[in-house]
């Protein structure tokens, strides 16, 4: 992964020092709470129901074992022994005290980490495909571009006080978007221009970026639009800068709930918006902003493939795997759901499930983090990834090691074989933790994971995403769940709206509300009835829940859920 040089290191250290000064001036009363608030938000420090919450950045979801050990240490030393993986690949701590935060930032800086711009009306964490660099269907590793964008956006002086938060995601697999780019303020897709015009070094095809704008969830969900189908690779920074400038100048500042770029794009219309961006881009023809090859190469070095073993060694004799799969049902199941194919022969991608029944989705303890670091060192070249679906990943595991790693993961409660299945639930922290929430989401997620815990049943259902949000801010991404659930407060009662048919990847769609909101104790039944209908009417076991819903439409499912 990318290694900080002296410049990167200086920036995070100076930032930690700057924040220490700001905290001091706040404590001394030189700065009011209102003046302090955007400053602390830009350091990821929220005030929540019970305590401050600190959101630590995990740029594009990549972590080294050293960094994971530090995250474990922070959980132990300054918090209550656990952290929470978020839907933007970050980690958050729910219980630090204000006085401790400058020390936490110092600790983070010592391992090349920070909490910069993880909150506030600025450019947030650049997120990406959790399988970047190892997915077999990838066109080009997006992470070097993510790192370049991270640097470009860090303390960008022109865009520190945007109308609202700004989220960017990058995918390097044009055929399968695992970064949900259509639901970001800016989504970038690496593409190949095969129009025959000569590319770099005389290549027949040119690599560039398809740039999407205006996607998002929240109160008014939107699927993004393509603002330019092909941006030359060297224009990436300049082009994005023009989008940000148009947003900074024209985004609404009169109404917090209409201030995202998706509203601007919608109100102006995609065409008019695009024209403003293109005009600004044309006018700011600064050759110095062009991405330089040497800089891209410098950054890309950090993401060079690790020293993979040849397939004979990576695969081993294959006997253990075959034998165990035949005789150990639990192992076979885990192999089928949580272990994915890898670009290099003999290797696999292993998903570490943080969705064990009885635990809030995405929570991870200090012990789990420490042991994960050991596993990473032993089995995955010292690297781990976070997923926006709130699981984690060991990206480079030899097939020969799968059996022993499974046993380790079972001992750590990270082997629940439910990746992409029903109980791989995404839920926001909800009313139990969040000052913005209207309803609790965690108890419902626990109930659903109990109700559907039968693994045979889950496998039979196949891939089906349940996503739960405790308010219309949609941090649980309920709009793009195959089954989305929104908690609302109706006359003092927590009730839940069910929606079906959401999808956050290439054939993106927003979920549709199925019927009247339900009290908490009726949700699991309704979901079960919906699933029963699917099982009964799918064309065959290959047709996914989503495809079946798209084919049949909402009516029959509504009947099933609400009917007699």
């Amino acid at each position: 992964m990318y290694q900080y040089d002296e410049y990167d290191q200086k920036i995070v250290e100076e930032r930690a020092r700057q924040f220490r000064g700001q905290v001091q001036r706040r404590v001394d009363g030189e700065v009011t709470e209102n003046e302090f608030k955007p400053l602390r938000l830009q350091n990821g420090l929220y005030m929540q129901l019970h305590a401050y919450m600190l959101r630590v950045a995990i740029p594009y979801g990549v972590l080294s074992s050293k960094q994971i050990r530090m995250l474990a240490h922070i959980a132990r030393r300054y918090d209550r022994g656990y952290g929470h993986i978020t839907t933007r690949q970050n980690i958050q701590y729910n219980w630090p005290s204000l006085e401790d935060v400058p020390s936490i930032l110092d600790d983070l800086a010592s391992v090349q980490m920070h909490a910069i711009q993880t909150s506030g009306n600025c450019i947030r964490n650049i997120t990406s495909d959790p399988f970047a660099g190892v997915a077999p269907d990838e066109l080009e590793d997006p992470r070097p571009y993510c790192e370049l964008l991270r640097q470009w956006s860090t303390f960008h002086p022109e865009f520190a006080f945007l109308p609202r938060k700004f989220k960017i995601a990058v995918t390097g697999t044009p055929g399968h978007d695992r970064a949900a780019i259509r639901f970001h303020d800016i989504g970038v897709r690496i593409v190949e221009n095969a129009d025959g015009a000569p590319g770099r070094d005389g290549a027949k095809t040119r690599r560039g970026f398809e740039v999407w704008v205006g996607g998002g969830m929240g109160r008014t969900p939107f699927i993004g639009v393509v603002v330019r189908p092909f941006v030359e690779y060297e224009d990436l920074l300049a082009y994005l800068e023009s989008i940000l400038r148009v947003y900074n100048l024209h985004g609404r500042r009169d109404n917090k709930f209409k201030a995202r770029i998706k509203i601007l794009v919608s109100e102006l219309g995609a065409e008019a918006f695009t024209r403003l961006v293109e005009e600004d881009f044309e006018r700011s023809r600064n050759p110095d902003l062009k991405l330089e090859r040497t800089e891209l190469e410098r950054v890309a070095v950090g993401f060079a493939p690790p020293p993979y073993e040849p397939v004979a060694i990576a695969r081993g004799d294959g006997k253990t795997l075959a034998e165990r799969s035949a005789n150990d049902e639990a192992f076979a199941r885990w192999l089928k759901t949580n272990v994915l194919s890898h670009k290099i022969d003999g290797y696999r991608i292993v998903v570490l499930s943080l969705k064990k029944q009885g635990i809030p989705p995405g929570d991870v303890s200090d012990t789990q983090l420490d042991r994960m670091a050991d596993l990473a060192d032993r089995y995955s070249f010292g690297e781990v990834r976070t997923m926006h679906t709130q699981n984690m990943v060991l990206p480079d595991v030899r097939e020969a090691h799968l059996s022993e790693i499974y046993d380790e993961l079972v001992a750590l409660d990270m082997a629940t074989p439910n990746f992409r299945l029903l109980t791989d639930i995404i839920a926001c922290p909800g009313l139990d933790y969040c000052a913005l929430a209207n309803a609790r989401s965690i108890p419902l997620s626990l109930e659903l994971s109990r109700r559907f815990e039968d693994l045979d049943y889950q496998e039979d259902i196949g891939p089906c995403s349940i996503k739960i949000s405790g308010c219309i801010n949609a941090c649980g991404h309920h709009h793009v769940g195959n089954i989305g659930i929104l908690g609302i407060n109706k006359n003092g009662e927590e009730v839940y709206q069910l929606m079906l048919g959401g999808h956050d990847s290439d054939s993106a769609s927003l979920g549709r509300i199925l019927g009247p909101a339900l009290p908490e104790n009726q949700v699991a039944d309704a979901v079960e009835k919906v699933l029963a209908h699917y099982l009964k009417f799918r064309t065959d076991s290959e047709e996914t829940f989503l495809d079946c819903y798209r084919r049949l439409g909402p009516e029959p499912f509504k009947q099933a859920a609400y009917g007699a």
Partner: protein
């Protein structure tokens, strides 16, 4: 006389904003509309004239920009970040050479960012310690991206 930060020092100067119906003379800062409509008249006095750009006004709409000794960029609330783009466009895109002053809700913690956007003087708001505000310029010794103070990204300024 007002106390401001200019060229990283605390100084006194005479610049002040006047309303459209007030007399305009030396070191007065007038509105965009007034400047555009009456600039010959304003300049006839032979004294330096300034103009303020409110956060919903564009530097592209300023006529005869270079005849202004000073352009003030207003920050009605420090969270209104339009002034940063305005200042940068004035400095880098339009090559304005005069003084760009931040007025309004101006405080120490935003001054480093403002200076990177081409702002060279700061009317720090009342109630804030203007001498302590000077430490703002030391917030960071390294910056990543191009901005008005240097339109080269870090990777073009140093060898990495």
């Amino acid at each position: 006389m007002k106390v401001v930060v200019k060229d990283k020092r605390v100084v006194e100067d005479a610049w002040h904003v006047v309303k459209d119906d007030e007399a305009a003379g030396a070191h007065t800062i007038v509105s965009l509309a007034r400047w555009n409509d009456h600039r010959e008249e304003l300049l006839a006095g032979g004294t330096p004239i300034g103009m303020v750009l409110r956060s919903n006004e564009s530097p592209d709409d300023v006529r005869d920009r270079d005849r202004l000794a000073l352009i003030a960029v207003d920050f009605p609330a420090f969270t209104d970040g339009r002034g940063y783009s305005t200042a940068r466009m004035l400095r880098s895109r339009l090559h304005y050479k005069g003084e760009i002053r931040a007025i309004g809700d101006v405080m120490r913690d935003e001054m480093f960012l403002m200076s990177r956007c081409g702002i060279d003087s700061f009317a720090v708001k009342p109630g804030k310690d203007i001498d302590k505000a000077l430490s703002a310029f030391d917030d960071f010794s390294v910056t990543y991206q191009a901005a008005a103070d240097d339109e080269r990204p870090l990777f073009r300024r140093v060898h990495r």
